[in-house]
Symmetry: C2
Subunit: 390 residues, 2 copies
């Protein structure tokens, strides 16, 4: 991959100091830091966005340093000081880490990865060292963190412990001598703490590469806590099905971050979709195939697609359907709008173009189909929206 594309494709923001480009192309293997919280071993395709970027850097000869936050995890969740904190046993942390590593190396090259556990340095950390770090950051710096500021201003508790989290994550960068830290845009503050600390200690501050967060199948940020993820260990059919349920407007971002589709094609798709074209249904199947093949195999991916299309065609119609009564014959476009299956005539046409509209399971081609009162058919848009037309 050309360096320009490496630094722009699937990248939300780069925070870099003087000489960044020279370091990148100077022939030395840069140390690419990536952190992992072993309370959450299940990786979804949102995580894979960053891992794919790490892999692209590895292919230029750089070195990944994966930090397993085993130590932070054993401290437990700091929020809610009156609640007992959920602590993970050392065994659970080990098990989660093993599971995570297995997933991590589905994308990242194991041969160019150094795995480090926080306990190497925090296990023997004394209070004096902890306070030494605490002396390097001010309350005001911490209140620059939106999460802290918002909670503080709302009168919600922010404990000193929580203030120490970015500090400790930052110190990880010092220990492993990170050149570039990778993270999602939600990690910016923590990553900046590492950059700040390295500068204070006379090191070249790490550069930061932030990847975008992607939406989940319900359009909100993809997150385990919303239950809207596509997990990289989902079985092929489940994975394919979940990709098919992603919002249309996410397609360009998903192609950009999770496939090797040439970036020019991604740009074309973005434009086409914005203009109400671009065959989102067809494209989404393509995306589902590419993603499923990536975490399973091309064969498994093809089977998943076939099964999905088959199941879709088998017309698994829910028992209880909304009814739409006709008093006169009506065209399919008009019906889709009148029944609420499409928001506009434009959308109705796009749905038909994309192959997403069926009458009694048969795909509707073109806009000419007319429905009559008493015909008693089921009209379907996508997988989940149905109306019984009377």
């Amino acid at each position: 991959m050309h360096t320009d594309e490496l630094l722009t494709r699937g990248v939300a923001e780069i925070i870099s100091g003087p000489g960044f480009r020279e370091r990148l192309e100077g022939g030395r293997a840069l140390r690419l830091k990536q952190g992992f919280d072993p309370t959450k071993p299940d990786m979804h395709i949102g995580h894979a966005v960053g891992l794919r970027k790490l892999r692209a850097f590895q292919e230029l000869g750089h070195q990944v340093v994966l930090i397993i936050g085993d130590w932070t995890a054993q401290i437990g969740d700091p929020s809610g000081r009156d609640q007992s904190r959920s602590r993970l046993s050392a065994e659970a942390v080990q098990a989660n880490a093993a599971s995570y590593l297995e997933q991590f190396f589905m994308v990242v090259d194991r041969a160019r990865t150094e795995v480090r556990w926080q306990s190497e340095w925090y296990g023997s950390f004394g209070l004096e060292q902890a306070l030494g770090l605490a002396g390097r950051f001010t309350m005001a710096q911490m209140l620059a963190h939106e999460t802290f500021r918002r909670r503080h201003e709302a009168g919600l508790p922010v404990t000193i412990l929580e203030l120490m989290y970015p500090v400790l994550q930052g110190y990880d960068s010092v220990v492993v001598q990170a050149d570039i830290e990778f993270g999602g845009t939600d990690q910016k503050f923590n990553n900046l703490a590492g950059r700040e600390l390295m500068g204070q200690l006379g090191m070249i501050p790490q550069d930061i590469l932030l990847v975008p967060l992607i939406p989940g199948i319900d359009g909100r940020k993809m997150s385990k806590s919303f239950g809207n993820t596509v997990d990289i260990r989902h079985e092929p059919f489940e994975m394919f099905s979940r990709v098919m349920a992603m919002p249309d407007e996410a397609l360009p971002l998903l192609f950009e971050t999770l496939t090797d589709l040439p970036i020019a094609e991604v740009a074309e798709l973005r434009e086409a979709l914005a203009a109400g074209q671009g065959e989102p249904f067809t494209r989404k199947k393509q995306l589902g195939r590419l993603i499923t093949a990536q975490f399973h195999s091309p064969a498994a991916s093809a089977s998943a697609e076939e099964a999905w299309v088959g199941r879709f065609s088998r017309q698994e119609i829910p028992d209880e359907l909304p009814e739409h009564q006709l008093s006169a014959p009506v065209g399919i476009i008009e019906l889709l709008v009148a029944s609420g299956l499409a928001a506009s005539r434009g959308e109705a046409r796009r749905q038909i173009d994309g192959g997403g509209v069926r009458i009694d399971g048969a795909k509707v081609e073109g806009y000419d189909r007319v429905l009559s009162p008493g015909e008693g058919v089921v009209v379907q848009v996508g997988r989940r929206r149905f109306v019984r037309v009377g």
Copy 2:
């Protein structure tokens, strides 16, 4: 001492929970916590205010627990994060502590004192324990501390380390199972942190007894950094002289906190002084004798007073004196006012009554002395104010 007087004389504030009085008089030896910062081994009479209170509690059978902050001291001053922190060597801390203890036991009963070093618990403190404490206090609680709030609001840095100081001092109370913590009013926030922490851990929260801060010889708060202290290791003459230089209006507070003068007499003195009476000069000599005798001996105190009065009488007149020209004979009262040596006729009379007015070194008795033009004498009020009368 009667309990009512014990809890009011020389006491600025008591913060106590239910059952305080019962605990105090219940027959169990209470544990009275007092902290010491071994970066500052020189003790002044402002510190003695609290030590005298500890002694009074000891005489009812209670137990002093002195915490030597050897560990905090080795961390150094947290303020000014870009400055290198001044660190004390372990040897310096030992020497300071030895010196402090010697002074401490000039007032406090050694037989009823337990000396504890912070390093007993902080020396082996891990990061996990430190973060455990950090999780028990919020930023908002810390910003209730006036020092932190004022600096934060002024945009001055407050480091996380500094936030940890009250927390660690508070944890000292947990370790030694303090019943009452003693401190100056400036220690209230730190002491409250201990109270809070004990409550969180299910212990009976320590009560807090705060003693007033006293002024130094320049009227500002007595503090080593202002150079205005009366140190308990000052030689008798120096000690007596410095007491004589204290502001008149501090006399009632100093008698209350640093002597056993019956509290009724202190109250009378306060009223008399407020009414422009009360013989401050005489009273100050009495105070000087009592304080000097306390830290040296009655004999040494008497010698100091004699030497001070002698030196005062030896007329050590500065070379450069302000001049006051007479054009006609004038009474001493009128002269004192006209030359600015007294603010009013009333003050002039009080100065004469107090033995503070001399002409050419001879004490002026009564108000009848008349001075004439050309007489060429030096008129003196107190030790330091002189006028040459021509």
